[in-house]
Amino acid sequence: MAALSCVVRSGRNAVSRVLRREFHQTAPAAAQVTVRDALNQAMDEEMERDERVFLLGEEVAQYDGAYKVSRGLWKKYGDQRVIDTPITEMGFTGIAVGAAMGGLRPICEFMTFNFSMQAIDQVINSAAKTYYMSAGLQSVPIVFRGPNGASAGVAAQHSQCFAAWYAHCPGLKVLSPWNTEDARGLLKAAIRDDNPVVFLENELMYGVPFELSEEAQSKDFTIPIGKAKIERAGSHVTLVSHSRYVGHCLDAAAVLSKEGVECEVVNLRSIRPLDVDCIESSVMKTNHLVTVEGGWPQFGVGAEICARIMEGPAFNFLDAPVTRVTGVDIPMPYAKILEDNSLPQIKDIIFSVKKTLNI
């Protein structure tokens, strides 16, 4: 009786389940995990797996992380592997890059990516370019991670999105996770990668829980860098986004679905390398493309996607020009009403989709 229900329930795993079934059949071990906890667990597991991996940054050790992402790690691993730095980004980023050159695998945390601007020379000139300049003699296995983009009420100097800036540079990989599975799989992949990776998190997503499948919970779960994911299949328009705005796109898609418009939502996951093939296949199916991002419009992620689509086979499948939904082209204001209207809202996405579809 139990064997029969097994076969009915699951497809692929049916045989293996029957073969290894015990008396008590446990439920699928999916769990609700926040993005923060996913990042924390990913770092913990990678530090346990490889003793060369260590974390440095401001407040990462005894404070448990400015946003508590590194909670518990210092207690478990100690001073050598979780290092509090002074507030000297250029210096500690250089030290992190040097440590990577010297054979370790550092995770360099920026309290926000706004502060990485002070250290950007070390990220680009010392980390990104070195493998090329040395013709393969010197590799730099390092992860730069931290919250990127707008938060809530932190105003102009603390709200910039750096996806376009870092993704511009050869020699870097730039990742932008949205949900828990992304955060976990991409961070593990980034730490295991032998190259400099910029890992753009989002502060507003840290506390959001998502279901994490059993497979995604396994210690060796990684997501391939450079591959986007189709979060929702659709046929009328392709929505391409990254980070927090993937959620906005899904919400907009739910609303539009009621009006008979089926959106295909693509979660980029990687900004560099960009999964153009995925976008192109989707556009060749839906004939319409809308990009959604939090960063500024000029020279941004959406702009790059537009250019790539024009250069590829998907251009001939477009029934309308590509539309970009972006942050407003201004420094971020403070007042809530102003801030809310500086970033893409769900209604902006819906409006843009309808304009693109001419409905």
Partner: protein
């Protein structure tokens, strides 16, 4: 004077077989020095080495009574027994001597490095060989640059050879070193051959970085370049020291920078973290008195670079004396390996060339100043004089070494000139490490190039 130089130049060219007109005046002088001693003997009043003019070796015994130089004889010698004969054999050379070296000014240290240094004959010849190779390599690079075979940036190291050699003599090959853009000397002392350095300068596939790096981006095991951004290499060096500490391998990292970079904020950030975490990092400021065209007095509110580490102990070292540099670096390395944290050294040195090949180097300093350093403080001449005065080697040996080096440099330059440029299909390689092949966009959308690790 010019006529005389031309006559001599032509004569020399006939003797040596080189092309007339190719040599610069400085090269000419150096060439002449192989045949004729044109440097002044050490001036007695020079305070740096506290040497007196060398006395001719006594005819009867080898027991020296000057009290300054103590020769240690071989087992064959017994005091008063040996007689100097006119035709020398190797057994007649002093195998080892002790030299007085300039006392280092110290900062936050109870005592400094020793004021004497021992030098064996073998070491002396090896230091000479290395420094002379660097010197000639740099002069050859000067020549190739003027012939437009080397392009872009070329920052030459001649004059500063004692720094690179002294440091290398004091650390192990397993220790680490990183420097800024005036890096050819260190690339050599850290193990890259002249051939591969020159070929990198000329941008050929036989270059140490396959022609993709150029003058400022040469790498070797335990040598992290060659860095183009002023000051950025110092935190990198501290990071390498962190890796040494993390691994517990008792290695140190030497992190070099210049007097111009010494005011960079990130250097002070590195000092802070290195001192906080007691990183085994030797910070070394090569003070050659000019940051590009700006003298130290015009750039720094405090030119006591050895004190700029504040809470970090410091040494001010005579960077023209290879033995002084060696002893100070040994002292510094011992300090770091003992777990006492970082230490700072200021090497007072001088570069003969301008900042780079596009700088004649005489608009902000006088030719007299350059000439004075050349005649009174040249590091290679100083070492040679010491060895000759103490009968540690014969003049002919030095000439032989010079001839061999000249040959090596010529062959390397030949290789660097004739080796082909890197093939175009290498253009996009080495973006990522351990990566499957990827596609790279070329200059236009139809140009799809391939990149492999």
């Amino acid at each position: 004077m010019k006529n005389m130089l031309t006559i001599i130049s032509n004569a020399l060219c006939r003797i040596t077989g080189k092309n007339a007109g190719v040599q610069t005046v400085s090269e000419l002088l150096i060439d002449l020095s192989e045949y004729v001693n044109i440097t002044s003997p050490a001036v007695p009043s020079m305070a740096t080495t506290q040497r007196q003019p060398p006395k001719p070796p006594p005819v009867s015994t080898r027991a020296s009574d000057t009290g300054l130089v103590r020769g240690q004889g071989t087992g064959l010698d017994s005091p008063g027994a040996r007689i100097v004969v006119s035709s020398r054999s190797f057994a007649d050379f002093t195998p080892q001597a002790t030299f007085d070296i300039k006392k280092c000014e110290v900062h936050r240290l109870e005592e400094g490095p020793p004021v004497t240094a021992e030098l064996t004959r073998e070491q002396g010849l090896q230091y000479y060989r290395t420094m002379q190779t660097v010197r000639r390599m740099e002069l050859k690079a000067d020549q190739l640059y003027k012939q437009k075979i080397i392009r872009g940036f070329c920052h030459l190291y001649d004059g500063q050879e004692a720094c690179a050699m002294g440091i290398e003599a004091a650390i192990n090959s397993t220790d680490h070193l990183i420097t800024a853009y005036r890096a050819h000397g260190y690339t050599y002392t850290r193990g890259v051959s002249v051939k591969h350095i020159l070929a990198e300068l000329t941008g050929r596939k036989g270059g140490v970085a396959k022609g993709k790096g150029g003058s400022m981006h040469m790498y070797a095991p335990q040598f992290y370049g060659g860095n183009g951004i002023v000051g950025a290499q110092v935190p990198l060096g501290a990071g390498i020291a962190l890796a040494c500490q993390y691994k517990g391998n008792n290695q140190v990292c030497v992190s070099l920078y210049g007097d111009g970079a010494a005011n960079q904020g990130q250097i002070f950030e590195s000092f802070n973290m290195a001192a906080l975490w007691k990183l085994p990092c030797i910070f070394i400021c090569e003070n050659n008195k000019y940051g590009m065209g700006t003298s130290v007095e015009r750039a720094s509110a405090s030119t006591d670079y050895y004190r700029r580490g504040d809470y970090i102990p410091g040494l001010r070292v005579d960077g023209m004396d290879v033995l002084c540099v060696r002893e100070a670096t040994k002292f510094a390395a011992d300090h770091c390996r003992a777990g006492k944290g970082p230490i700072l050294m200021e090497l007072q040195t001088y570069r003969y060339h301008g900042h780079s090949m596009s700088d004649p180097g005489v608009s902000y300093r006088t030719r007299d100043e350059i000439q004075e350093v050349r005649t009174k403080s040249d590091p290679i001449a100083m070492l040679k004089d010491r060895m000759l005065s103490n009968n540690m080697a014969a003049a002919e040996e030095f000439k032989e070494i010079d001839v061999a080096i000249r040959k090596e440099i010529e062959e390397a330059a030949q290789f660097a000139t004739l080796d082909p440029e890197p093939p175009l299909d290498e253009l996009c390689n080495h973006i990522f490490h351990n990566e499957p092949p990827l596609e790279v966009r070329g200059t236009n959308p139809w140009s799809k190039l391939k990149s492999i690790s």
